[in-house]
């Protein structure tokens, strides 16, 4: 291996490595501002300058951007470097800096502070007026102070190269150089929140964390983003449990700051979110203290509610359900709880109550299990990176935003991306992908043609199909069958419920919730458990659901939030949320990821595994479970897939300088285990598509900040979604042919029409706010309606 000399010692390097990488690896910590390990270098700040001696001439060069060569001799600690370069660069960077650290949110985790203390001089010789910019805000997520900027170009680089956006940029030159947005009100990129995290100082701050706390009062707890099934790794930042600084503040005898999330920052898991987060994951946390959280176990008796204690309510539930027939018990959940809870609920429902009525979603039928032998993807998320062809059904930006980072990256690397949808979404409009746009009724035909193409290997090279699991049964089945003909075609199933994979792994089988609803409407369901879901919010066809719920005598409502269906409940059990409990979740590719308890339980709420444990005990079965570890041990023994999963995974470490706050976050990274799944592919035949006549259709479609169970409760997104304005999008041809002009009426509701040429003909799109989609009343179970 070739070698270079750094500070008189020899080190090995690989081809294409920079001086900085070699130095850091060997504990020589050269300071940096503009270099960021997850982004390409630009050499904008020059704090990393070192002396490079090559063939008898010495030069000053930026270590972050100079590739190693044989016979290079590098000096990082000479007098020139220390006194002239590093001190000089810092003095220059600080020329225009307002030095307002006491009022800056980044104070305490600011690269400029730390490096000035270590390498800088204690005074400036500059005595002229400082440059000042007007302060503008372009986003509710960010808080901008352009005067503090040191022009490191990290934000613009992130925005262009990784977030794929264009509106953010660095404008003007030299003295007047400033970052920002040109003549625009609001940034529309869904990754903008990452910019405050990579900004080495406080020029870009977290808008939601403004003036809330200081970094040394904060503790970061490992957790998982609950909004989608990708399970991006996050840190939940809370007030230190025993702060040495200020506090604690007591209000009404309760230390309020122990119940609050201060902000969410990203945690590096190269296989999942690769350090970045989408804004939906980063800013959706104020639901934790939503005003409709349930505080106490409550019983409804003769129309009045009564708060009781846990023992009493569990006894009451037990005496109500103990004699019910197993066909008459049902469970509907949206799979938002941990694997451990899922496992205990499986014991209750499958081994004690013996019920078959368990539903997670609209569709129910499982084409994946039929074709693959087990319901799991055979591709991983990181397979996107080296794929030659990526075929996507549905909308990534609005449903699984974080995958976009990988899509943009592979599109830049020359992958062909095809998006099948009924309107053109971001990745098509911005030319990252090729769009195939069709009417929803043509989906079978389109998918069949695609299946033939995949089957005949018309896509050369590695192909990854990204398919949401709620595609119509025949569509999904055909595509899956086609994929198993070739080794280079793989399928990544996107679970539409956050922990659905975990629920399947512990032994549940999905059944359409509408099947259960139908049964209930016939009076065949006596006991219904509604667990962490709200039917009236999440599913269309509301009138049918409402009549069913009113026919069930005993509805047991286990949830953190009091949503619409609570009025049908007899027993109301408050459940903790992901940030208030320990647990594990299996993401869409089968990776078992761990989250830890960050906050104390909200009032009297309890983790759902504890609730199920109590019920199981009342049925006379003692499980010897005292903690989450006991359940994990049991799971490892009983569930074959998880037998080799390490639930106690430690982080791994990189050799990065510990004294640079924005780099320090990257020292630790996590790699969780994939569960082990048996795949038994079956050679089935493709089903010919059924022709369906194209008709004008109103259809529900996701919106990034509206459609998530958690994010839609957070006010911070309201500047993007304007919750109470009801609009329907359609292209001008459809509008003309239906002869509707400004207003569109459906039954007794009125919607204003927005012309959107990106929607396919004969489709009217409605993006429901999770919580107030009255339009649900008129839609059928697949979320559409002919007009």
């Amino acid at each position: 291996m070739p070698k270079i000399v750094i500070d008189k010692k020899e080190y090995e390097f690989k081809d294409g490595e920079t001086i900085l990488e070699v130095a850091w690896r060997n504990n020589i910590f050269i300071p940096v501002f503009c270099y960021h390990p997850k982004m390409p270098y630009v050499a904008a700040c020059r704090i990393c300058n070192v002396e490079v001696r090559i063939s008898n001439s010495t030069r000053i060069m930026p270590a972050c951007a100079t590739l190693c060569q044989e016979n290079m001799e590098i000096i990082t600690n000479s007098n020139v470097i220390k006194n002239d370069i590093q001190k000089g660069v810092l003095e220059l960077l600080l020329l225009n800096h307002p030095l307002d650290c006491p009022t800056c949110d980044a104070g305490g985790e600011c690269d400029l502070q730390e490096l000035t203390l270590r390498f800088g001089s204690d005074r400036s010789r500059y005595e002229f007026p400082k440059r000042e910019f007007e302060r503008k805000n372009f986003s509710p997520f960010l808080d901008l102070y352009p005067n503090r900027c040191i022009e490191c170009d990290r934000c613009s680089r992130f925005f262009h190269l990784i977030g794929g956006g264009t509106e953010w940029g660095t404008y003007n030159r030299g003295w007047y150089e400033v970052f920002g947005v040109w003549k625009k009100e609001i940034i529309e990129n869904e990754f903008s929140g990452n910019m405050w995290e990579i900004c080495p100082l406080g020029a870009i701050n977290d808008g939601s964390y403004k003036f809330k706390a200081r970094p040394w009062e904060i503790e970061s707890i490992e957790s998982i983003a609950p909004d989608d099934s990708i399970g991006s790794n996050i840190y939940v930042d809370i007030r230190k449990k025993y702060p040495k600084s200020r506090g604690p503040f007591e209000i009404g005898g309760r230390r309020t700051n122990l119940f609050k999330v201060y902000r969410i920052t990203s945690r590096d898991n190269p296989k999942v979110n690769d350090y970045w987060l989408s804004d939906r994951e980063r800013y959706s946390y104020s639901w934790i203290n939503a005003n409709n959280r349930i505080a106490y176990p409550t019983i409804k008796e003769n129309g009045t509610y009564r708060s009781v204690n846990w023992e009493y309510i569990l006894d009451a539930i037990y005496s109500d359900i103990k004699d019910v027939n197993s066909e008459e018990v049902a469970l509907i959940t949206s799979a938002r709880s941990s694997n451990e809870s899922a496992y205990l609920s499986k014991i209750l429902f499958k081994e004690i109550l013996f019920t078959e009525n368990v539903g997670f979603s609209e569709i129910g039928e499982d084409a994946i299990e039929e074709v693959f032998g087990y319901s799991i993807s055979n591709a991983t998320i990181s397979d996107i990176d080296d794929a030659k062809n990526i075929i996507i059904f549905g909308d990534i930006k609005n449903s699984f935003p974080i995958l976009g980072i990988r899509l943009i990256r592979s599109s830049r690397n020359g992958a062909n991306i095809f998006v099948y949808n009924y309107y053109k979404e971001r990745y098509i409009l911005e030319n990252w992908a090729k769009g195939i746009i069709f009417h929803p009724y043509e989906i079978e035909k389109v998918a069949y043609e695609l299946s033939l193409k995949v089957k005949n290997n018309e896509f050369r090279g590695k192909t990854v199909l990204i398919l949401p699991d709620n595609l119509p049964y025949r569509v999904l089945r055909n595509l899956l069958i086609a994929s198993i003909y070739h080794d280079n075609a793989k399928v990544l199933i996107l679970r539409t419920k956050p922990n659905k994979q975990g629920f399947i792994d512990v032994g549940f089988k999905d059944k359409s919730i509408y099947e259960i609803i139908e049964k209930a409407n016939l009076g065949k369901i006596k006991v219904l458990f509604l667990w962490h879901t709200d039917l009236l919010l999440e599913y269309p066809n509301r009138s049918e659901i409402e009549s069913a719920l009113s026919k069930i005598p005993i509805v047991i409502y286990i949830s953190p939030f009091a949503d619409y269906s609570i009025k049908y409940a007899k027993y109301i059990l408050p459940e903790t949320t992901i940030f208030e409990e320990d647990g594990s979740r299996t993401n869409t590719e089968g990776r078992v990821q761990i989250h830890k308890q960050a906050l104390l339980n909200y009032e009297d709420s309890m983790p759902s595994w504890w609730i199920f444990k109590g019920l199981i005990k009342r049925f006379g079965i003692s499980l010897k479970i005292d903690s989450i570890e006991d359940i994990r041990k049991l799971m490892k023994k009983e569930i074959y897939y998880y037998s080799e999963v390490d639930f106690d995974k430690r982080p791994r470490y990189r050799n990065y300088p510990p004294f640079i706050p924005s780099i320090r976050k990257l020292i630790k990274y996590y790699e969780y285990d994939l569960a082990k799944y048996p795949m038994r592919y079956k050679n089935l035949k493709l089903i010919e598509p059924e022709a369906k006549e194209v008709k004008p259709l109103v259809i529900l479609s996701p919106h990034i900040y509206k459609s998530s169970y958690y994010a839609s409760r957070c006010e911070i997104f309201y500047s993007y979604i304007k919750p109470y304005i009801r609009t329907i999008e359609a292209n001008s041809k459809t509008i003309a042919s239906l002869s509707i002009d400004e207003k569109f009426k459906l039954e007794d509701e009125e919607f204003s029409i927005v012309v959107n040429e990106n929607v396919v003909d004969n489709v009217l799109i409605y993006r429901p706010l999770f919580f107030d989609s009255k339009i649900n009343l008129y839609l059928n179970k697949y979320g559409s309606r002919e007009i």
């Binding site: 264009t166 509106e167 953010w168 940029g169 660095t170 404008y171 003007n172 030159r173 947005v181 040109w182 030319n431």
Partner: protein
Amino acid sequence: MNLEKVQELREELENLKKIYKKGNSIIIPALWRVQEIYGYLSDEGLEILANELNTTKEKLLQVATFYHFFHTKPTGKYHIYICTNVSCMLNFAYEVVDELRNILKVNENEVTPDGMFSWEEIECIGLCDQPVAGFINMKRITNLNKDNIKDIIENPQNYAPEKTKIELI
């Protein structure tokens, strides 16, 4: 939308595309054409450019704002630059600037109400041997002083063409 201008810009771009074939090399000449046709980098011109070159307006602006000679705001029919760098300043460039401000009654980068003039200070343009130096519509004017600047304002047509045309290599 000014169809004539759009048409002209499209034609110019077609010609440029034949010369500048690789990568981003076309951006600067194309920006010059927009500025010649519209007098400044107008939104309309930039949008057309962005479409033709398959980039975005913001990207073009990031390039354009780096350079002094591109304008993102409208300019007068005659745009005057006065150098105020060392050699010119020592030869009373600021007197010329003050005189300009007095006659035109507008500040830097503002347009006179009749739309005829606007002016701007610049850094050294390499004519230090004939201070004070400057440009009017990219034609150089040298040895300026308080008096001859008046003449330039009165008879600008003697000094410069109405429209700049930058010869590109």
